[in-house]
């Protein structure tokens, strides 16, 4: 039995301890927005937040997240400015990588509200987009970054401000 917070809700999983968090989220709790791409922590499609930091859930045994705060794309509740920017910039093509892209980018902005272009590139290069929507991903992040502080506040409406600052 492993207990953790999933998008603010306390849940318990009886999955085997070595089961990657990804499958627990997707198949036990039915949150399908988090995707399976490579299974070896090299594409980022499965990115979720663990206590505010981006992690690759495909390679994270569920036992590791006991008592942790896990947030998935569904946990942004369509409220994150990045999600609006993603529509504004018409970022997604097939869309499969985009939950992971948004979770990665939102973690960046939570700790660095106004990243430079180089910082964005460095932070986002672990996330593969096979459709190659990179220039739009970058533009959408830059767009939100220039709106600066509002990001940090809107990022996580349900939890206290401290956590929304990330784990820097």
């Amino acid at each position: 039995m492993i207990e953790f917070l999933l998008n603010g809700k306390k849940i318990t999983s009886d999955a085997e301890a070595d089961t990657p968090l990804l499958w627990v989220i997707r198949d036990e709790f039915g949150l399908k927005g988090t995707k399976f791409g490579c299974g070896i922590a090299m594409c980022g499609a499965c990115t979720v937040h663990l206590n505010g930091s981006p992690v690759r859930s495909c390679s994270l045994p569920v036992s590791v997240v006991a008592n942790a705060d896990i947030r998935t794309i569904e946990g942004l509740e369509d409220q994150h400015p990045l999600q609006k920017a993603w529509i504004e910039h018409q970022v997604p093509q097939c869309g499969y990588c985009q939950s992971g892209q948004i979770m990665q980018a939102s973690a960046l902005l939570a700790t660095n509200a106004n990243p430079s272009e180089d910082e964005i590139v460095a932070y986002m290069s672990g996330n593969l987009c096979r459709c190659m929507t990179y220039s739009r991903i970058k533009a959408a992040i830059q767009d939100v970054a220039t709106q600066s502080d509002s990001v940090v506040q809107i990022y996580n409406p349900k939890t206290e401000a401290k956590r929304t600052q990330g784990v820097s």
Binding site: G37, M42, E74, Q93, G95, Y96, M124, Y134
Partner: protein
């Protein structure tokens, strides 16, 4: 089966039905002219009885919402949006009221294939006409309600308007009784709106599928859950063909919690040979059990084939001028070769490439009341539905393929082979099954882009006049593998060839003597199932043609753009034909002339930097998108590393139906071109690809993103496709830029730093 041709839909003569049904208004194509004659009732009866066979049909409900049903795969090209806009524009609809839905296969929906950048091309005319017919019916009914003459009415913003009177589509649908059949002839009389009166086409718009792709709610094949389903993972045998399972030892797998055993699959369709599927009550359980399972095989005959073996066969064939089938035979190349004073020979090779769609292939299958329901994202349902039927020993009308979003297509999901193991497993255990390939499984089962070898020869006379070019291209052929009936005959009647694998070699340059041989590489064909990979043949023919044109230009000491322009005279067969390729090579010349300005061609660059040009007319001669690319690169002369500073792209695809979608597709396809040029490529080793995950297979990421400057020629010509053409010119443009930067001519794709160093002039 319907002939596999992009013209199928356009040329089919169907009538169009419009009728009030259950409170709404429904509009659809009749199945065929014959079926219409058989049907006794009018549109309402036929629609009620579901006697329609549309690729697309639409409904307007009493709130005025317009639902466009689309039988095409959505894999990132926002195809629904483009098609819905064509319809909505003609209807005079308010875009806010338009929704799209992707439908299931049912044999009666007609031929379902999404590939070759054809969707907009194929549907433009019929969808415009269908929209215009809908408008006519709405106006007729609306005029009655308004008490005016239909001639005095028009539609706009989902209203029928006559002077200062108007009635909304919603009210027309609520109050009008519509029962209307437009014959194929009546339909054909509708001309697409003239460009000035368009409200939606070619105007900025947001794609309808995007919001769901920003919040995790878009549903892909991998997200399907069926009640009581068992999770499965396939064990991929060591060779694609010919493996037989000798024995299975699952003693270690039994220790995995939730393990539910395995099945050795028997496949009458021979799609999967020597396969085992592993079952568990969770996917991770199936993965672990799969890793623990020991399977002993009788191996297929290709168990030791290497990339080099395949290339060597290709080289021998390309060299042998009697091999293959002639696809182009202009003038007399043999005579040109004999009389030549000088000549040039170059061999170009491309290595195997993975699709690596980010969503690994998967399918969920359940059999309910004797009907097999397959759930997955797929591009070519009509090809694999009969294969599923054969594998299952069931009738084709007992198979339904349910469509979902595709986590990347790129041609991988033209093959529906991954449905087969899922269906067989479900049949074998008598329970619903969701079978998901791990990334490694997906790569090992990929229908890769075949390695290719091309030999190019050019001949000059004593006055240094270019006499002609000879081109032999050897590769594995996807169409031969999955749809050999679709292969046309060569011009020498020596055999059939795969048009998709040679397209691009029959280019738009005017040459007095020109010969192209399409050659199948039998070892490639045997070792794997050659795949359709974004742009297919032009991905390698463009590499050879455009690199070689550059070599010729340099040999002749002519500017590469001037040289190309001199051959783009639009004479003879290169004049083009109305409406699709109207203008012919002239449009290509125009693109080339414009990009020369845009990219500031000919300027002086710092040391080790260069610009390179290449053009393309993909996807095919009868559906050309005219394109050019200029690459700006910098080469590190010590390491051979290439940095692409900028890619400038210019495309003429006629009317741009969905401009932002077109730009987005082209950004993607040009970066694909760059990724294939510099970052991808794998090799066969012991009968399988050696790279199967991102630890060694390394597509382009954000840190290698160049500046992209992409433009479209603004005109109102017939719209052609965009999903693939942007890719074609990029690799040769980069190679030509590398030559201009450091003088190294590279002829192998991908371009590796080592190859550049080896080719550097000393």
């Amino acid at each position: 089966m319907t002939k596999f041709s992009k013209d199928t839909f356009e040329k089919s003569r169907r009538s169009f039905l419009i009728g009030s049904i259950g409170g709404g208004l429904m509009m659809a194509f009749a199945p065929s002219i014959n079926a219409l004659e058989v049907a006794s009732g009018g549109a309402v009866k036929q629609l009620t009885d579901k006697l329609f066979s549309p690729t697309v049909w639409f409904e307007i409900d009493t709130n005025g919402m317009i639902l466009v049903n689309i039988a095409r795969a959505e894999m990132g090209q926002h195809v629904g949006t483009a098609i819905a806009r064509i319809v909505a524009d003609e209807l005079g609809a308010d875009w806010q009221n338009v929704e799209i839905k992707h439908v299931d296969t049912d044999p009666k929906w007609g031929y379902m294939v999404t590939g070759g950048s054809w969707s907009v091309f194929q549907t433009y005319v019929p969808m415009s006409q269908a929209g215009a017919a809908g408008r006519t019916a709405l106006i007729e009914a609306g005029a009655k309600l308004l008490g005016v003459n239909p001639q005095d009415c028009k539609t706009e913003n989902s209203m029928v308007v006559a002077g200062n009177k108007s009635v909304s589509f919603a009210d027309v649908v609520k109050n009008g009784k519509i029962d209307r059949v437009f014959s194929a002839d009546e339909l054909a009389k509708f001309q697409p709106k003239n460009p000035e009166s368009r409200q939606l086409i070619a105007k900025p718009s947001k794609a309808l599928d995007i919001p769901a792709k920003t919040n995790g709610s878009a549903k892909y094949g991998i997200d399907v859950e069926l009640e009581n389903m068992v999770y499965a993972r396939p064990i991929i045998p060591p060779t694609r063909h010919g493996c037989v399972v000798r024995s299975v030892d699952d003693s270690a797998a039994k220790k995995v919690k939730g393990y539910q055993g395995y099945k050795i699959l028997k496949d009458p369709s021979d799609t999967v040979q020597g396969w085992v599927s592993v079952l568990a009550d969770s996917y991770y359980g199936a993965v672990k059990a799969g890793n623990a399972l020991q399977v002993d095989y009788d191996l297929g005959e290709t168990a030791n084939v290497s990339e080099q073996d395949i290339i060597a066969v290709g080289e021998t064939l390309a060299k042998d001028k009697t091999s293959g089938t002639l696809v182009v035979d202009e003038g007399n190349v043999a005579k040109a070769a004999e009389s030549a004073k000088t000549s040039l020979e170059s061999i170009y090779r491309t290595s195997s490439v993975l699709h690596f769609a980010l969503e690994p292939v998967n399918a969920a299958v359940e059999i309910i009341d004797g009907v097999c329901h397959v759930h997955c994202g797929n591009q070519w349902q009509s090809l694999f539905l009969p294969v599923v039927a054969k594998a299952m020993g069931m009738a084709e009308d007992k198979i339904i393929i349910h469509q979902y979003y595709l986590g990347g297509g790129f041609g991988r999901r033209l093959m529906g082979d991954y449905m087969i193991p899922a269906a067989l497993t479900a049949q074998a255990i008598g329970k619903p099954v969701k079978l998901v390939f791990t990334r490694e499984d997906d790569s090992r089962f990929d229908s890769v882009r075949s390695p290719s070898v091309q030999q190019m020869n050019a001949y000059w006379d004593a006055d240094e006049k270019l006499l002609g070019i000879e081109h032999g291209a050897a590769a594995g052929w996807p169409t031969l593998a999955v749809a050999p009936g679709f292969m046309p005959e060569g011009v020498d009647k020596k055999g059939k060839y795969d048009p998709f694998s040679i397209s691009g070699a029959n280019h738009w340059y005017t040459l007095e003597n020109h010969r192209v041989r399409a050659i199948n590489n039998p070892l490639a064909q045997k070792t794997f199932v050659p795949g359709f990979l974004r742009a297919v043949g032009p991905g390698w023919t463009g590499w050879a043609v455009e690199s070689f044109m550059d070599e010729i230009a340099h040999k002749q000491n002519v500017d590469p753009i001037d040289f190309r322009l001199s051959l783009l005279d639009a004479s003879g067969k290169n004049a083009g034909a109305s409406p699709v390729s109207v203008g012919g090579a002239k449009r290509l010349a125009k693109v080339l002339a414009e990009i020369r300005e845009k990219a500031d061609w000919g300027r002086t660059l710092p040391k080790n930097q260069g610009l390179g040009i290449a053009i393309s007319a993909g996807q095919e001669r009868d559906m050309p998108t005219w394109g050019a690319c200029v690459a700006h690169v910098e080469v590190d002369p010590e390491t051979g590393a290439v940095k692409v500073h900028k890619l400038t792209g210019l495309l003429d695809c006629g009317t741009v139906v969905h401009p932002d979608g077109a730009l987005s597709q082209t950004e993607g396809s040009m970066l694909w071109g760059m990724s294939l040029a510099l970052f991808e490529g794998t090799a066969f080793e012991k009968g399988q690809v050696k790279d199967n995950n991102l630890n060694t297979y390394t597509p382009l990421r954000m840190n290698n993103l160049p500046i992209l400057d992409i433009n479209f020629v603004q005109n109102t010509e017939f719209p052609t496709g965009l999903g693939e053409p942007g890719l074609i010119a990029v690799a040769p443009a980069i190679a030509n830029a590398i030559f201009n930067a450091v003088g190294a001519r590279v002829r192998d794709l991908p371009i590796r730093p080592k190859a550049i160093l080896a080719a550097m002039p000393t």
